[in-house]
Amino acid sequence: MVSKADWEIAPIHIDPDTTEKLFFTDHQWDTIEAAAARIMPTDRDPGAREARVIVFIDRYLSGIDYLYAAADGSGFLQLADKDAHAARARNANMQRLYRDGIHELDKKARELRAPSFKEASEQIQDEVLEQISGAPKPVPVSLTSMEVYYSRLQGNTDEGKSFFDTLCLHVRQGFYGDPVYGGNKDQMGWKTVGFVGPKNLKDTMDGTYSTAEFFVQEYDWEDLVPGLKHSQDHTSKQEQGGQ
């Protein structure tokens, strides 16, 4: 078998401006692009449309060739054997989820007398998304309301989610993920929220990319940890006593 440690790197690069479709039909592409634009809308900052979230999702759904970028961004890892088998099975489920989901978007749009989801007004599109999410469109964060939550697993895979939740997650991934995956064009997503990310993945491997400037530059542990000096003196006395 080929160990995960030895997966080949296919020298594939994704052009975020491409219109070549690897998974979606033209209609599916336009439908998901329209839905993504309602999930991460364009305002004074770019949204899903400008960041090419659609390219990101299309590549991801096309198979398992775009699952993991090589660590240095020089291409994509080619999974082998049982890992590839498991990934292909998941991909087949994901493709089905999207095909059915797009069908549902159109069906609901037609029920609201639009010709299709992609041709519906933004207001109708929002209504459709409300229906498939089963909840009203989210309202702004309130600083005065009280909510309580319970713990969940860290990490956030897209397995076992509904079409709507999957789409929302993929839009975030395409907007905020490393540009190597086809979305977050020109780091638009990162710039929108103030994340100062690396120029490329390779820069994260050798110290080239650094966030050191964002740490507190002037500090004194004795101010932050009152009583520190006293207890350090105490410790060193103990050490001397032990010699």
């Binding site: 995960k4 713990s151 905020y176 110290g207």
Partner: protein, 560 residues
């Protein structure tokens, strides 16, 4: 017919925090050692980088739940469901390849939890068969060889320490500074938690260049983070006495007529079943998988699983739970908090560690302010899921929120356990671990009290809104900590292992991960696992392999 390899002195199954120190100590002592890991042997400098999607969302390091599933249920009467419970990376290095790396020392009180508290209804509290002072020299050895940074003397409740830390901590982050401000207002002793990474100018002379902030759950392509795969494994290999067999799944520990372990049967990368004999077998797969392998290894002598004559293998499992409170700050009033920066933790406290019964629970744990993460997965409970409200929330709070987490010390219960799932099998065709667990009332009370306290600290630091995330009806295993399951103790009727991690009923079987821990500890377990493994490996090398045995005598606890 099975292939058979030439016998060796010692087999180690699992090359993470437990297996790594044992590999180093035993191969340096001159024994021929073979180490198995069912996962790959990744090369950090080639395989790791700051790719959020790959490490946080697409489980590059975490076990593939379709290949290595676990199942979980809340009690013996409910149906188990497949769930990626306690997902520790399955590769050479194990959990040390992805962990943020909190490395606080355990406390004196951790080892005498039953003596201090007596019986707790519904729980199976116990003392450890050794004490803090027995582990202290090994804690120091690990700190100085593995590489831990910390601020010596800052933790006012720490037990005796024989040596200062070999590396200074990282500078505080912006949100770390807020945490200190909030803590100091409330009179809470806070300090940079000891971490398994180094900073520049460390006494080990190791380069420490990674300041990318791609940290928790990411692999580190440099040697800034201390990982077993970049420290103890290479050191063991340098002796010429150690061999790594990666991508090799050990499916059974063999037992001879005399009841001693004779070796293991494993499936090699090409699917071939091979036997490997040895004089000693060490299990260090993590508490869930070590218990599972023992239960898979039934024999005439041990029909219910290896060394399971007490019936206790798998029971008294503890998992901790990572819970937290998030604070949102006003961007018009404050400087950015840069919650995405730092090596996860940027200030913590053990102020609430020791029991204070006025709180309504016994025990306690460690708190720390931690990164909210990068942009895709930035932690914000209740964030609007789509539309303008989501985009506004991201823009307003990505740089203006912080969280204070808590490692919840769950009480051991016999009913919280690992056994073999009767229905679900893994990619090698073997029954998977089924986890049965339900929080104890003390766990729920501790969760409420501490997370509410964390909210107070956030408020003192200036948060406009705080959001609590408590422990729910079940553990999720989200701390990726595993303890108990193969309990240590002095009495073979109430424990499986003795004070050397050695099975009471199989003298050449040792379990050297967190499985032996009778109680969960209030700190992250990795430093304790490593020091424990080193201590027990010392015993194997210098006493057991020399044909001798030794028992530890414990002085009575002086109750104050």
């Amino acid at each position: 017919m099975k292939r058979k390899m030439d016998p060796v002195d010692i087999i180690i199954v699992g090359l993470g925090a437990g297996g790594g120190p044992a590999a180093k100590v035993l191969s340096e002592a001159g024994y021929k050692v073979v180490g198995f890991d069912k996962g790959p042997w990744l090369r950090p400098e080639e395989h790791y980088s700051g790719d959020e999607l790959k490490f946080q969302n697409r489980s590059y390091l975490w076990p593939d739940v379709n290949l290595m599933p676990r199942t979980v249920r809340s009690d013996a009467n409910s149906e188990a469901r497949i769930f990626n419970f306690s997902p520790v990376p399955s590769n050479v290095g194990g959990g040390t390849s992805h962990m943020a790396g909190w490395m606080p020392r355990p406390r004196v009180s951790d080892f005498i939890f039953h003596s201090l508290h007596g019986d707790l209804e519904g729980a199976s509290l116990a003392d450890w068969p050794y004490r803090y002072e027995h582990l202290e020299p090994y804690l120091t050895k690990v700190e100085w060889s593995y590489g831990i940074s910390g601020l010596t003397g800052a933790d006012k409740g720490e037990g005796f320490r024989s040596k200062a830390y070999p590396s200074a901590p990282l500078p505080p982050t912006s949100f770390g500074k807020k945490f200190y401000e909030g803590s100091n207002k409330l009179g809470i002793n806070s300090f940079p938690l000891p971490m398994s990474h180094l900073t520049e100018g460390n006494a080990l002379g190791r380069p420490a260049v990674n300041r990318t902030s791609f940290w928790n759950q990411y692999g580190d392509p440099t040697q800034t983070r201390s990982s077993v795969a970049t420290t103890y494994i290479p050191e063991a290999l340098a002796t010429g006495n150690f061999e790594v067999r990666a991508d090799s799944f050990v499916r059974e520990v063999k037992v001879g007529k005399d009841g001693k372990a004779t070796g293991v049967i494993y499936i090699d990368p090409d699917g071939v079943e091979i036997e490997q004999d040895a004089r000693v077998v060490i299990l260090a797969l993590g508490a869930i998988e070590s218990a599972r392998l023992m239960l898979l290894s039934s024999s005439n002598k041990f029909p219910d699983g290896l060394a399971n004559d007490s019936g206790l293998v798998g029971k008294n499992a503890t998992f901790h739970e990572y819970i937290f409170a998030v604070g949102l700050f006003d961007r018009d009033m404050e400087d950015p908090l840069h919650g995405w920066t730092g090596n996860y933790q940027s200030g913590g406290s053990t102020h609430f560690y020791e029991t204070d019964e006025s709180r309504g629970h016994i025990g306690g744990g460690i708190i720390a302010t931690t990164q909210i993460g990068q942009a895709i997965n930035a932690i914000m409970p209740g964030r609007p899921t789509w539309g303008q409200a989501m985009k506004d929330a991201d823009r307003d709070y990505f740089d203006y929120s912080m969280k204070i987490g808590f490692i919840l010390q769950d009480m051991p219960q016999e009913t919280n356990r690992v056994d073999l799932d009767p229905n679900v099998k893994d990619a090698w065709g073997m029954p998977v671990a089924r986890i049965t667990n339900k929080p104890h009332a003390n766990d729920i009370a501790m969760s409420r009290w501490q997370i509410d306290k964390n909210q107070e600290i956030l408020q003192a630091a200036g948060a406009k809104k705080t959001i609590p995330v408590y422990l729910g009806d079940e553990f999720t295993g989200n701390a990726c900590h595993q303890q108990g399951t193969v309990r240590m103790g002095t009495d073979p009727a109430t424990s499986v292992l003795n004070e050397w991690g050695q099975a009471h009923s199989v003298e050449n079987l040792f379990v050297l991960d967190g499985a032996g821990f009778p109680t969960a500890l209030g700190v992250n377990p990795t430093l304790t696992i490593m020091a424990h493994s080193w201590r027990c490996a010392d015993y194997i090398a210098n006493t057991y392999m020399k044909g001798r045995s030794e028992r530890l005598t414990l002085s009575p606890i002086k109750k104050s």
